[in-house]
Amino acid sequence: MLRIASVVKRFGGVTAVDTLSLDIATGEFFALLGPSGCGKTTLLRMLAGFEAPDSGAITLDGADIAHVLPHERPVNMMFQNYALFPHLTVEGNIAFGLKRAGLPRDEIASRVAEMVALVRLDGLEKRRPDQLSGGQRQRVALARSLARRPRLLLLDEPLAALDKKLRESTQAELKEVQRRLGMTFIIVTHDQEEAMTVADRIGVMDNGRLVQVASPRELYEAPNSRWIAGFVGDINLIEGVVESREPGRIAIVTPDAGTIVAARAPETSAAVCVAIRPEKIRLLPVVQEAFAVKAMTGVIASAGFLGGVSVYTVQLDQGAVLRVTLANATRAAADGFSVGQRVSVSFSPDDVVVLDR
């Protein structure tokens, strides 16, 4: 198990990592997600040994590694832009760490062969990095960092240099390799889809602190702050005040969208923010105004067709503007609503998240 306890790192006057604590289980695929400059790379570099924490402890399976030199820790890193040795072949790059470990020659050869097979680089062993494509280089970097069988593998934006299609297939491969080897992986990324796709748990960082640590699903469905709700995925935020609170029914009065009912809410102050994901909102055409009195009503302000889904913005009569995503489950669904059409808006109280303002 990796334990990070109250780690602080400052650069000059800037606190890059601020009293951060985190436990990561052996065999876990953990993602550090955050905007650039949030301290996630600094944290990763402390785990690799390129930076030493100013205070706090980092222990791996009980042993303190905070001040162990990089070349002496059982941790390997896959670098952003890969940092492959340009003067060595694919084999040479993969064998580099094994040679430093002083393994016997035949052991090195068999491990290199094993790694080459794992990342499907067969036939390219004698190539140099400049004779490989971006995707192949990425796989050499992965093989090189896995070859020493580290107890902890760090991945610094490993897929950022690949194009979208390749990135998606590589994410699946990465997840598969991690599952097969049962190694602890920590990936740093600014791409939330990537984090959600590969990771068992995601730690979202901002200003050197962990804002929320949760599974991808929990992070998306139950963000613990307004900042997280806005950072992860798309969401509608409406400010309001708690009017009544009883088990299973919290009523919030909002100036822009009337009264909204939520099934549950954390103990918050009276001033709150209501958050609803765009895909959790249902739209119905208003046939007769008289039937719609109790519902939220509004006008379609814009409509966009994205293929699998259509996105709409709805201008509520009370003033709020909501983004709504509807799946185009049938061909006919794609031309469901048109701009200017009056609609009624509804969502389940279960899908309403109440956050501190």
Partner: protein, 303 residues
């Protein structure tokens, strides 16, 4: 054949421009020197025969060609003076180039590791001496090294020696002068390759279990070899033909080939032998140049 034409006319002109340049400023003068090398010395103006006079017509030209001989080259091969000069030049050039590399590499490496804002200043410090005339700097060394010069005064004052030592007119003085003069030629190419080294490669090496020293030998040094090659040649080639520094700082008992050439040309007025010396020197230097060319091409292909 028109299908094979890949260059348009102006582009083709641009492509042959370097060859025209080479032909005009290298091959033509080389032809003159070669012709003189194959002539015989004479008390005349110019001081050799035959003189090719194109105005005298084809027959005169043919008889002039017929009078050419390899006697001067045979002389070079038979007289110890020339062989010793060549050998000494090569020994001096190899020795000083090795010293330059041994001193230059750590200095260039240190410069490349300085904080970014200090690097241009370090660079200036290497280049600034060049703002003073080369000859004046060598004369300054004579002042430092002579019998009652700065170095002996300092050693006496510090009580390290009790009578002045002989520095000037020794090989040590000459090596000092050469290393001092050619230092920037070694530093600049080395610094250029070391400064653009990606730090992430060293981190990767450390991450994969290489100590700082190992990372240097396995990553930094092999990647700096193009700079090492450039530095070695930029120093070696001109040092082989060096004339001024050995003439002013070394003893006069043994000569480098540049000095011998000077002697033949100006003192003995033997232009043909001097030309032959120059041609053999060029042939000697062509070998390292070709090796460098080959290495450089391989490096470019690897890029």
């Amino acid at each position: 054949m028109s299908g094979r034409r890949i260059f348009t006319r102006p582009a083709r002109l641009a492509a042959i421009a370097p060859y025209l340049w080479m032909a005009l400023f290298f091959l033509v003068p080389f032809g003159f020197v070669l012709k003189i090398a194959l002539s015989q010395t004479a008390i005349a103006q110019p001081p050799y025969i035959p003189v090719v006079n194109l105005a005298a017509g084809w027959d005169a030209f043919k008889s002039a060609l017929g009078a050419l001989s390899f006697d001067n080259f045979k002389l070079l091969a038979s007289d110890d003076l020339y062989i010793f000069s060549y050998v000494r030049s090569l020994i001096v050039a190899v020795t000083s180039t090795v010293i330059l590399l041994l001193i230059g590499y750590p200095v260039a490496y240190g410069m490349s590791r300085l904080p970014q804002r200090w690097q241009p200043i370090a660079m200036m410090l290497v280049i600034v001496p060049f703002w003073t005339s080369f000859l004046i700097r060598i004369y300054a060394w004579i002042n430092v090294l002579q019998h009652d010069g700065l170095l002996n005064k300092l050693l006496l004052a510090l009580g390290i020696v009790d009578k002045p030592l002989v520095w000037l007119s020794t090989d040590a003085a000459m090596y000092l002068g050469i290393v001092y003069s050619y230092f920037p030629f070694m530093i600049l190419p080395l610094y250029a390759t070391l400064a653009k080294m990606d730090d992430a490669l060293l981190e990767a090496a450390a991450d994969l279990g290489a100590s700082k020293l190992k990372a240097f030998w396995l990553v930094t040094f092999p990647l700096s070899l193009p700079g090492v090659g450039a530095g070695l040649l930029l120093c070696f080639i001109p040092i082989v033909g060096e004339f001024v520094i050995p003439d002013l700082l070394a003893g006069s008992d043994r000569m480098m080939i540049g000095q011998t050439l000077w002697l033949e040309f100006f003192t003995n007025k033997d232009w043909p032998v001097a030309s032959a010396i120059a041609i053999v020197l060029l042939a000697l230097l062509l070998l390292p140049l070709l090796i460098y060319e080959k290495l450089q091409r391989r490096h470019l292909e690897a890029q």
